[in-house]
Amino acid sequence: MSTVSRADLRRRRDLRFGVGLSLPAVAVVVLLLGYPMGYALYMSGFSWNDKLGSYHPFVGLGNYRDLLVDPAVHRAMGRTLYFSVFTVLGGVALAVLIAVLLNVEFRGRTLVRVLLLVPWAVPPVVNGIMWKLIFDGSSGIMNTILLGTGLVDERVQWLADPGLTMNVLVFAELWKLLPFLCLLMLAGLQGIPTNIYKAARIDGANGWQRFRRITLPNLRGPIMFALIVQSMWSLKVFDTIYVLTGGSGGPAEGTTTINFLAYLTTFSNLDRGYGASLAVAAMVLIVLVTLMWVLLLGRRREDREEAR
């Protein structure tokens, strides 16, 4: 039986090597994120508004119960949903179309793909500033262009109306996130063997049918992945809102998403307990949405492993 133990020994050496490699990173993440996460969960169990003095009773799930019926939370959820639907579904859909556009061979294609990286590399804060320069109601270039082309005859106050501002926000975020999604889709497209397009042509499928019946189904993996990461990013968008609305989530709380509400509650209202519960709720929401996608993606994973 000495062979078995020797093989075991080797396996143990393998294991030790593997653990040794991964431990530092895992430890750093767990230690650095574990404590704050625990703290936040803990806080969310207290009724802890600093402006109410020094009595902070433990209320268990009380905060969560409150937020379920808090109209401000409902409004924020509605806005979060609006924002996410447009940036996630709209973003992914647009990304697919643009990727298809860029997957055709043409001169300068590489250059265009490189330029795709520009929005991706622009920091969110700069993104906010940039769109503010463009959509400013009095001095923004957007109004200048629209007036110049006669599309409107009066300056549009983009950032004065809650609805419009939300749309500007969606627009600004789309600009920034599209490139990454496009690159995802492009990579996905490149993974589709060109021959099956030929096969489809031979089979009598026209351009639209090829897109609908070949391209889309074969992009399922990248699309799912894009949906997941973009959901995560959309549901916790912060920087752009902050810069675009001067830190207010306005006008008239028009851009106060659930995540921003958590911020306002914690930092403006000094309601740390409720703020923590909102943030945790936002996180739970993100995880749930992610999980929803993962369940769909998971099926694909299984398939893939089966194939191996």
Binding site: P193, N195, I196, K198, A199, A200, R201, I202, D203, G204, A205, N206, Q209, R213, I214, P217, N218, R220, D303, E306, A307
Partner: protein, 356 residues
């Protein structure tokens, strides 16, 4: 039915303007119901030709006619043909049934007929039990069959094959080859078959188109290709083991000697130098004393039913195929007997066939 005619067809890929065309001035006719192979080494333009027939590539100049009608401005999805790809090109996201049915759906064949045709094709190729599986779960041979079934179910006027067997292992390849042959016999549709495997081309085809560097080398029956190769390229490309092609100088009236060895052949030619061709399986070996020997045995490769013996003639190697497990040994000195071999001779400069 379908007769395919190529008239001065030429193809230059955009962005490849400098080099020679990928396909250069091809003209031949593939008769209705025939099985024709396009044979040639990698990069000689076989796939390009096939793709032009299919409408997957534009023709740069010249015409392609199917049944006398020009088709070169017809999109692929409008031509009535089926294509079997080297990598099968199965739709990975559809199950086998859907893969086979897709082309029928696209052409608006009624549902019940689709179902009937799919099952018919699947039965024919023995893949009925995997109709619900996705392609990635199939073995290579099964995928191959699905690709065939997809083509058959379409019932097209023309079948196009682009090296459909090259991804299969040896055993499966032989098996499928026979099936293909039977299938063609049954369906009788015009078939164009691309391969770089001369054995495949020989066994399957009614006619073979041998190509090299975009140009037509020879168009003929397997018999013609094998026994009367039009160029030294065809001669060396077709036949296994390869034909021995040796430079020979004129030694006297009608006599040519292979440089560096005592080997000589009789040829009714006048050129001072020619390339002489001798098929290994038509030659034989005789033990010889060192003095009178043509060469020494260098390698022996037993194949079971025969052995290839490679003889070092001094300045060239000469292969002889002898039956069974050979009795000669490495290092033996031998004489090559070419008396029963058919003689081939080619022009040194142009490579054109010289004898009869």
């Amino acid at each position: 039915m379908a007769e395919i005619e190529l008239v001065n067809v030429q193809k230059t890929y955009p962005g490849r303007k400098e080099g020679p065309p990928a396909v250069d001035d091809l003209s031949y006719t593939i008769g209705d119901g025939q099985f024709v192979s396009l044979l040639g080494p990698s990069g000689c333009g076989k796939s390009t030709t096939l793709n032009m027939i299919a409408g997957l590539e534009d023709v740069t100049s010249g015409e392609i006619l199917i049944d006398g009608q020009r088709v070169d401005d017809l999109d692929a999805d409008k031509r009535d043909l089926a294509f079997v790809f080297q990598d099968y090109a199965l739709y990975p996201h559809m199950n086998v049934y859907e893969n086979i049915a897709f082309g029928l759906r696209m052409r608006k064949v009624p549902k019940p007929e689709i179902d009937q045709r799919v099952h018919d094709a699947a039965r024919r190729l023995d893949i009925e039990h995997v109709l619900r599986d996705k392609p990635r779960r199939l073995s290579g041979g099964q995928r191959q069959r699905v690709a065939l079934a997809r083509a058959i179910a379409r019932r097209p006027a023309v079948f196009l094959f682009d090296e459909p067997l090259s991804n299969l292992d040896a055993l499966l390849r032989d098996q499928t080859r026979s099936e293909l042959k039977l299938l063609h016999a049954e369906l009788g549709a015009t078939s164009v078959y691309v391969t770089h495997d001369q054995e495949e081309a020989m066994t399957l085809s009614d006619r073979i188109v041998v190509m090299s560097r975009g140009k037509l080398e020879q168009y003929g029956t397997p018999y013609e290709i094998y026994h009367r190769p039009a160029t030294d390229f065809v001669a060396s490309f077709v036949g296994k083991p390869r034909m021995n092609l040796l430079p020979a100088r004129r030694g006297g009236a009608g006599r040519y000697d292979v440089a560096g060895s005592g080997l000589g052949v009789e040829l009714p030619l006048s050129q001072p130098e020619v390339r002489v061709g001798l098929r290994p399986e038509e030659c034989a070996l005789r033990d010889a004393a060192p003095g009178e020997a043509h060469g020494t045995v260098k390698v022996i490769e037993p194949l079971g039913n025969a052995s290839d013996v490679i003889v070092d003639l001094g300045q060239a190697l000469f292969t002889v195929r002898v039956p069974g497990f050979s009795s000669v040994r490495v290092g033996d000195t031998v004489q090559v007997d070419t008396s029963s071999a058919r003689l081939h001779a080619f022009d040194v400069a142009t490579g054109r066939r010289l004898v009869d």
